[in-house]
Amino acid sequence: MGELTFNLLAWFTLLSAAGVVINRNAVNAALCLLLCLTGVAGLFVVLEAYLLAFVLLLVYAGAVVALFLFIVMLLDTSGAPRALPRRLPLIARVLAGGLIASGVLSFSARAKLPVSEAVAAAPGIGGALKPYAYQLFTTYLLPVQILGFLLLAAMIGVIVLSKKFEGLEDVK
């Protein structure tokens, strides 16, 4: 049962990720990204990280993909000539393909990573909320503060980038 669920979710995720890469239309690519993120949230549920599955759907599917769709429709590049895949030099193609294939195959062909059977069989600890809060406000307090500052900087950056300032033409 667990195996079947995992396989369905994994193939669903990978196929919709392939859809993001091969779709010509940017709107369809964004919708494929949405499907892919839903699959990843399913994988998180399989891994018993329920909170993360929820947050992933909320932040990514709810905010990021919506933002992508909004921008795709705002820019409306449908009038542009049809974009063919970029032509890379032969050596770059061979090198990139070989590296990617060997990277993925090294995961599948490798001997099994050492996993303690007891830990794998025990229920995951990612289900409860309390441990997350404890970790975030003790061990990872400084990174949380830095992230808050990063979000502030990003917000100011976005405002500066998108707003037209009077008499400040060199900002752009």
């Binding site: 669920t5 995992f6 396989n7 994994a10 995720t13 990978l14 990720a17 993001v20 890469v21 940017a26 690519a29 990204l33 892919c36 993120l37 994988l43 998180f44 891994l47 018993e48 990280a49 909170l51 993360l52 992933l56 932040v59 990514y60 990021v64 933002l67 992508f68 921008i71 820019l75 590049t77 542009a80 974009a83 063919l84 895949p85 970029r86 990139a96 990617i100 990277g103 993925v104 995961f107 599948s108 996993v115 303690s116 794998a120 995951g124 600890i125 990612g126 997350y132 970790q135 975030l136 990872y140 992230l147 990063l150 979000l151 900087a153 990003a154 976005v158 980038l161 998108s162 752009k172």
Partner: protein, 102 residues
Amino acid sequence: MIPATLDGHLLVSGALFALGLLGVLLRRNTLVVFMCLELVLVASTVALVAFSRYNGILDGNVFVFFILTVAAAEVAVGLAIIVALFRRRQTVQVDELNSLRN
């Protein structure tokens, strides 16, 4: 069939990463390149969650929060840059945005 073990999850994560990288290398539309960049970030979160599940710790899961936040900030700034670029150049194709090349 992919086994539902740590190795299986890492295989999925690696394949997702490879697909995202392929998209970044091959696509010409800046917006789609950006979406593929998001795929790469999500692939890393799958690996983190799988590692912390199979080691019985929470650190990987907590780190996913940080990755999500950074990704959200990155999307906001990146899309603002793309919109500003489109206003000025009327294009989002990677090949035409080459004024830094020479």
